[in-house]
């Protein structure tokens, strides 16, 4: 469920563009005005604003935002203003250029988006970067990480609810076998996670628990320091209970010394229009404080205001 709040009477696109123009004009920038417009428009509305702004003032809104804003606030506003598919492409491309800790971002995009959304992201990637997402992921990752990430990012999963219980049983057995043998990068283990439909994976994992006593992720915790295993566990979470995955990312981002604004901005902008409400509930449950309070304590200024607006704090 979305936490985005849009005013009941939305101003016309022309008015919105005018307001933004005003916000940029003169000395300094009126960040509050920018937030009051952009943070309360949905993806279609923002797309229209960008188009109209370019037509009216001859400038790309994103370029203007880049010029006028800075630091964490700029990043969160830019991410938010991009269309979901462009945003995913941008985040993925950024992730391929960084070190291994950003493998998580690639996995996150590949596993939490629907088949259609992932496809749109791949199309947007072609347009923007003149390469395919999979060739960049393949090129910039190695070993076990590539073995896992490449098929994840190339998947086009069946999205139906049909489940084959016999298959769930046999694949739970295969998973258990490979995990017991510590063959965590085994082709069959990766095959199941990277190609089966989410419904089928759910059924398989349920069967795993019924048959072998533990959640599969518990059995994957054998070596807490192993980064690959951590990625594998995160993949499973993303495929089966994304709100719990995102809650954890937020929690770690906020609790980290100095705050991980990158992760915070990423989760808030990518989930605000999708399932942020459920993530907030999960956060409250797990941490006994509302997400807004944690954000308020941990961040400040316009950056904080933008985040709070996106997670549904205050009025439109």
């Amino acid at each position: 469920m979305s936490t985005l709040t849009v005013p009941p009477q939305v101003p016309s696109v022309a008015e919105d563009c005018e307001q933004l123009r005003k916000a940029f004009g003169g000395w300094g920038t009126n960040e509050g005005l920018i937030i009051s417009v952009l943070a309360h428009r949905n993806a279609d509305q923002r797309k229209l604003i960008r188009q109209t702004y370019a037509e009216t003032y001859g400038e790309d809104l994103l370029k203007v935002l880049d010029k006028e804003l800075s630091n964490d606030f700029e990043r969160v506003v830019l991410l938010w203003t991009l269309e979901p598919a462009e945003r995913d492409a941008y985040l993925a491309n950024e992730a391929t250029k960084k070190w291994t800790s950003s493998n998580q971002v690639l996995m996150e995009i590949a596993s939490t988006r629907s088949s259609r959304q992932l496809l749109l992201a791949r199309q947007a990637y072609h347009v923007r970067f003149k390469r395919s997402i999979e060739e960049d992921v393949a090129y910039h990752t190695t070993g076990d990480f590539r073995k896992l990430l490449l098929p994840l990012v190339s998947s086009y999963r069946y999205e139906g609810d049909e489940v084959n219980m016999n298959l769930a049983k046999s694949e739970a057995k295969i998973l258990h076998e490979k995990i017991s043998q510590k063959a965590y990068n085994h082709d069959d283990l990766i095959r199941v996670l990277a190609t089966r439909s989410k419904a089928q994976i759910n059924a398989t994992l349920n069967h795993y628990k019924n048959e072998f006593g533990n959640d599969m992720n518990k059995d994957l915790k054998r070596d807490p320091k192993d980064e690959y295993l951590a990625l594998l566990r995160a993949t499973v979470k993303c495929l089966t209970c994304p709100e719990r995955y995102f809650e954890k990312v937020l929690r770690l981002a906020i609790n980290k010394r100095g705050t991980d604004e990158g992760a915070l901005s990423r989760v808030v902008t990518t989930r605000a229009e999708v399932d942020m409400k459920i993530i907030k509930d999960q956060y409250q449950k797990r941490n006994s404080v509302p997400l807004e309070c944690a954000i308020d304590k941990d961040t400040g200024g316009d950056y904080e205001k933008m985040l709070l607006a996106l997670v549904g704090h205050g009025d439109a």
Partner: protein, 314 residues
């Protein structure tokens, strides 16, 4: 026509690719019981002498005949199908048939455009309630799996932009893998699969050109050790040559059913794309116009249908 000649003509009409329906009607249609008995006694190709003193149709031959009679119907159905459904069904059938048909999966994955392959994947969802990659990954074991799953999962960039330095490095990577084929199968090499399964076609063509300039040979000529890779490389870099070869193989006498099926498949799937170039390449390479080969080696409605499709390219 004397009976002798007629018997021969009928035998011919029932052999080869497709069935000469008209000849059968005009010849068989007027045979009396005596003439039909001669047919049975003298055509050991189709009839066996039974111990109880009668001539029996050879079951195997009836099966083969059934296939030949169905060739026209199959061509019709394939021709009228939506290209997405067509590719999805062809892939599924190839998977069911086993390794001897996996080349068809490579053909579909590598010769279709990114959008066409995507469409096929969508249709596969609808038709079979699974994704094509999960079925391939599940049913294919061994060294073919990585390559086939990788190829079928690709959603290649389709523009012209190419990074020449990267292409040079990757040409070298491929060359090294080929030279080390005795130590490790190239199709099991992660980088080989990565390059073939993810790079854009423009980039791959650049790699193949650099390969030829640097090492003096076409890369697909050096891949005789690995027929899957050879097919993939040909389909990606030079599909017209691939299709022309497939047609030639299909028309050779003694070819098996899988090989023969390429005749319908290639003609139907390439008819509105590059059949003209394929015809030119066939003529150039084999010294005979494709239409003539088809005229000589196929029969009946099936033949006329193929020739009609091929004429569209003109």
């Amino acid at each position: 026509m004397a009976l002798e000649d007629e018997l021969q003509a009928v035998t011919k009409a029932l052999s080869g690719i497709g069935i000469d329906e008209n000849l059968l009607i005009s010849a068989l249609g007027k045979w009396n019981p005596v003439e039909r008995k001669s047919f049975r006694k003298e055509t050991s190709q189709f009839f066996l002498k039974d111990d109880r003193h009668f001539e029996r149709w050879d079951d195997q031959q009836v099966k083969l005949l059934k296939r030949e009679f169905l060739r026209f119907k199959n061509a019709m159905v394939l021709w009228t199908m939506h290209p997405w459904e067509r590719d999805a069904r062809l892939a599924k059938e190839a998977l069911r048939d086993g390794p001897q048909s996996y080349g068809i999966i490579i053909e579909i994955a590598c010769t279709r455009s990114s959008e066409e392959l995507l469409g096929a994947r969508r249709a596969y969802h609808s038709l079979f309630d699974h994704s094509i990659e999960e079925d391939l990954a599940y049913h294919i074991n061994g060294s073919d799996r990585k390559l086939l799953v990788g190829l079928v999962s690709s959603y290649r960039y389709e523009g012209p932009r190419v990074n020449v330095e990267t292409a040079q490095i990757e040409s070298q990577t491929l060359h090294t893998a080929i030279k080390n084929a005795h130590k490790k199968k190239p199709k099991e090499d992660e980088d080989v699969v990565r390059i073939l399964a993810t790079r854009s076609k423009a980039h791959l063509k650049t790699i193949f050109n650099i390969y030829k300039e640097t090492y003096g040979h076409n890369i697909h000529d050096e891949l005789e050790v690995d027929s899957r890779l050879e097919e993939a490389v040909l389909c990606l870099g030079n599909p017209v040559t691939y299709f022309s070869k497939a047609l030639d193989e299909a028309l050779k006498s003694g070819s098996d059913e899988n090989t023969k099926e390429a005749l319908t498949r290639v003609t139907v799937t390439r008819c509105d794309y590059d059949i003209k170039e394929i015809k030119e390449e066939y003529n150039r390479h084999f010294g005979v116009p494709l239409c003539k080969s088809i005229e000589d080696k196929t029969h009946g409605n099936y033949k006329h249908f193929l020739l009609t499709l091929l004429a569209r390219g003109d």
